[in-house]
């Protein structure tokens, strides 16, 4: 029976269904109109659950070695090609789980606010675009969804419609569309040279082409994906985009958009150029150094930020580059560390943003110096915050530790001891900008304003998602050895890239 299932066109086209589930939901919600709140919630949650089920099937299928693919001819010699491999599933699963959780959070967060129809519509479309990015099987398809992601996030950034939001939106578009243009140019160059090639482990680029040309194209593509991955100096849009509502910052700017960029870097190195060619061209060093600079620079800026969301945003700038660092180091262990951080950072950072949203929504707290004593007032929220922050710093057994451990091992494995220096510096800086928040929350200064006794937690619709993601972040660390844990899946991908179990 399984054999029959494996070849059935409906089963094989699973990536398309996965993209469509949120695409159709988004379009339905957009045309539905503001008054039909109940219908909207049903569609939204229904689609999110459906997607989760589809992703579950696919995860199982990919693990079994099923080939999920969907092809639609678009232009002569160029297809829309969707293909699910183990790497796709890493991003797809993360996004699918977090979409459901964030939707619940957003429904609570935006209660009674205007334009919810537009918000949830575009929110679903963003998820569809992220799904498309994850299962894109060639550069052209990747680009289409990558740009769709830009367009569908923009209305969310400017959602509040105030001038600071519009300014942020303008900057966001300028960066991402500019990056997209450069990216497109690189893609066109590769298409002109190589034709329509699918992502292939080990790369498909002809290594005999002139190195200068290959380097030029690589840099164009790297800039294109580097903008969304917020690598310094292309990161300027991210802190400003924090003006968006908290669920947007949580899912999109901590997970979907920056991960689409980081995911693009992974694809570019492993499946377009191939690790060997990247190393021959010396581009792995460029990538690793850019990542290292971003990690340190982002942390330094986070240290200076007094706005909680700003601090978290710069922290994202820094943390996402762990992924690029792992790819740049290029040893099996480092690859696993980088890939697993794609999931781990997502879980931890979304928790932190949920917490920031809870603080802002329940008590109007936006700055770090206002959190004094919040541990007593919002114990659950601050516990989740503490757990995620410690995870970011890299305290075992929380997820962040696992990532750093593998990255460090990977650096040593390749004889690149400077990586340890970067990791240590980053850990210290992480501690330096997170610990003061925790200290203020749990051990308020004597002169801090008294918040009065009693607990004033966020509503359950905000609290449950927060606690859930925090639990996941902890679970991903503690249960890293279990099958289908992020780490195991990253090792599974690593085996496919390097051909051996590391």
């Amino acid at each position: 029976m399984m054999e029959a299932l494996q070849d059935h066109p409906v089963w094989m086209a699973m990536p398309a269904w996965m993209v469509l589930s949120s695409l159709v939901a988004g379009l339905l919600i957009l045309v539905l109109g503001e008054p039909y709140q109940r219908t909207r919630v049903v569609i939204n949650l229904g689609a999110a659950v459906l997607k989760l089920v589809l992703v579950g099937f696919m995860l199982w299928g990919v693990g079994q070695g099923h080939d999920f693919e969907f092809r639609l001819p678009l232009l002569p010699g160029i297809d829309l090609y969707l293909h699910a491999d183990s790497l796709s599933m890493l991003l797809a699963t993360l996004s699918a789980i977090l979409w459901l959780i964030t939707t619940v959070y957003a429904i609570g967060y935006l209660e009674q606010s205007p334009n919810r129809c537009r918000f949830f519509g575009f929110f679903s479309l963003c998820v569809a675009a992220t799904m498309g990015v994850s299962v894109a099987g060639n550069l052209f398809t990747f680009f289409l969804f990558y740009e769709l992601l830009t367009l569908t996030t923009w209305p969310l950034v400017v959602h509040r419609g105030v001038s600071v939001a519009l300014r942020a939106g303008k900057r966001y578009l300028a960066y991402t569309l500019g990056g997209g243009g450069i990216f497109l140019f690189g893609i066109i160059a590769l298409y002109a040279l190589m034709g329509d090639q699918v992502f292939t482990p080990g790369g498909f680029v002809d290594p005999d082409l002139p190195p200068a040309l290959l380097i030029g194209i690589f840099l164009l593509l790297l800039v294109g994906v580097g903008v969304k991955a917020a690598m310094v100096p292309l990161h300027g849009w991210l802190p400003q985009a924090m003006v968006a509502p908290a669920p947007v910052s949580a899912l999109l700017h901590a997970v979907a958009v920056v991960k689409a960029g980081a995911f693009g870097i992974v694809r570019l190195v492993y499946d377009v150029y191939g690790l060997d060619l990247v190393a021959t061209l010396g581009m792995n060093h460029v990538l690793a150094i850019a990542a290292a600079i971003t990690i340190v620079w982002g942390s330094l800026r986070a240290l200076q930020a007094s706005d909680i969301k700003q601090r978290l945003a710069f922290s994202t700038v820094s943390q996402v580059s762990y992924i690029a660092l792992g790819v740049g180091i290029g040893s099996p262990m480092a690859t696993i560390g980088g890939l697993v951080h794609l999931v781990h950072q997502g879980l931890m950072k979304i928790t932190l943003f949920f917490c920031a949203g809870n603080l802002a929504e329940t008590h109007g707290i936006k700055r770090v110096d206002q959190v004094d004593g919040m541990g007593r007032t919002m114990p659950w929220t601050m516990a989740a915050f503490t757990l995620a922050a410690l995870g970011m710093i890299g305290v075992p057994p929380i997820a962040g530790f696992v990532s750093k451990w593998y990255l460090g091992l990977g650096g040593v494995e390749n004889g690149q001891y400077w990586v340890l220096g970067v990791l240590v510096a980053s850990t210290l800086l992480n501690a330096a900008y997170f610990l003061p928040v925790l200290r203020r929350a749990w051990f308020p200064r004597a002169d801090a304003p008294d918040r009065g006794p009693g607990i004033h937690e966020a509503p359950l619709s905000l609290l449950i998602p927060t606690v859930a993601t925090a639990t996941f972040a902890l679970g991903a660390g503690i249960l890293a050895g279990m099958p289908f844990s992020p780490l195991q899946w990253a090792q599974f991908i690593g085996e496919q890239i390097y051909g051996v179990a590391p």
């Binding site: 639609l72 002569p76 010699g77 497109l184 298409y191 002109a192």
Partner: protein, 504 residues
Amino acid sequence: MFESLPLLSVLIWLPILGGAAVLAVDRLGLGDVRWWALGISVLTFLLSVPLWMGFDTTTADMQFVERVPWIQALGAYYHLGIDGISMPMILLTTFMTVLVVVAGWVVIQYRPAQYFAAFLFLEGITIGVFAALDVILFYVFWEALLIPMFIIIGIWGGPNRVYATIKFFLYTFLGSVFMLVAFIYMYIQAGSTEVADFHGLPLDMTEQMLIFLALLLAFAVKVPMWPVHTWLPDAHVEAPTGGSVILAAILLKLGAYGFLRFSMPIAPDASAELAWLIAVLSLIAIAYIGFVALAQSDMKKLIAYSSIAHMGFATLGFFIGFLIYVSTGDVQGAAFGIQGGIVQMISHGFISGALFLCVGVLYDRMHSRNIADYGGVINTMPKFAALMVFFAMANAGLPGTSGFVGEFMVILASFKANFWVAAIAGLTLILGAAYTLWLVKRVIFGEVANDNVAKLQEANPRELWVLGIVAAPVLILGVWPAPLIEVIAPSVENLVEQMMTSKL
């Protein structure tokens, strides 16, 4: 049902006779001329759909052919037929004409019968140009086109309309004269007025060069290519909304069509020799005119310059094919570039037409085309703003819209010919986004700029429907261009074959 019907003749003469009928209805007081005009344009559109449905995509031969002797003394025939290149153009024409009629519904108060009749005449004549397979017939339609357009701008145009009409007329007419000379020369050589005979006419290099340059003058003015583009911004600024829409959506396509139908197959060797020239002129249009667009303060002028830049992509796509073939021998690549150019033509027809309709909606309320008079329109006209932003994005070549497909194909083809050509063409990805999005930013977004904007009424259902209907093909072609390319492909392959066959 349609086999027995001379469909192309019907499509040409129905709107022309319909236009006359509209005039008669007005004179005799038989009812509302607008409904008559709408009925005729819708009927014409519906009758053009069978061209698509019944089109055989496996052949490059002319289809729906009609051929009867016409001027015996010259051996001229009334010869009509379409291939994959002209068929989409005819559908574009019939589609846009319906929208133009609806767009002029309440706006045109002065001599509405004549206004609608002029557009119906224009529609029939344009279809005649695209369907004509006899050069005399072609030339008659080609020149006849000037008359309704002259009238539309000259009567319903803005304050400076006389200057604009004369300039428009002189430019295009002077260009066409050289085309006529070339046609006469070839008629004497071939002893026939059939386009197909011209294609097969053996010509040496000097003859080809002269013919190519003569045709170039005619077609370059129509496209328009730099440096003979200066009539277009003036004409657009003065033309009424409907005139601008038809001018941008359809009339500019005639020049590009001329290259495909005449210049390239008749003078393949000269085309190959001078391909670099066209490529350079196209690149100037793309890059330089892009900067010019950036500097405009008038919305219509900005879109007019944007049109020139976008049509530069079409001509670049056509002639990059020669460069690719000469430098690499890649036939597929050459066809890809030409297909991209044609897709760009069609896509630009919808998008620029839609943008002019958008400006028309604003102009009808504020009576100003000046960008500085606007700002924050989204606050008072949110639905309209959403549509205008969509078309602006499409104009900027955003993926998922038809604007992206054409530009992508042409840049990809350019890459195969020359890196620097592609690099300059790629500049528009940034430049096009810059001037279009900047326009949108200044007009649509931000705080309400002044009391006039604050008093704006949201676009009415008629206006929203018109814009919504144009949005559909922009989106469909952007998401799934394959059906269109399937129609174009055999004819382009045939054209490439003609290009590759030296006449020397």
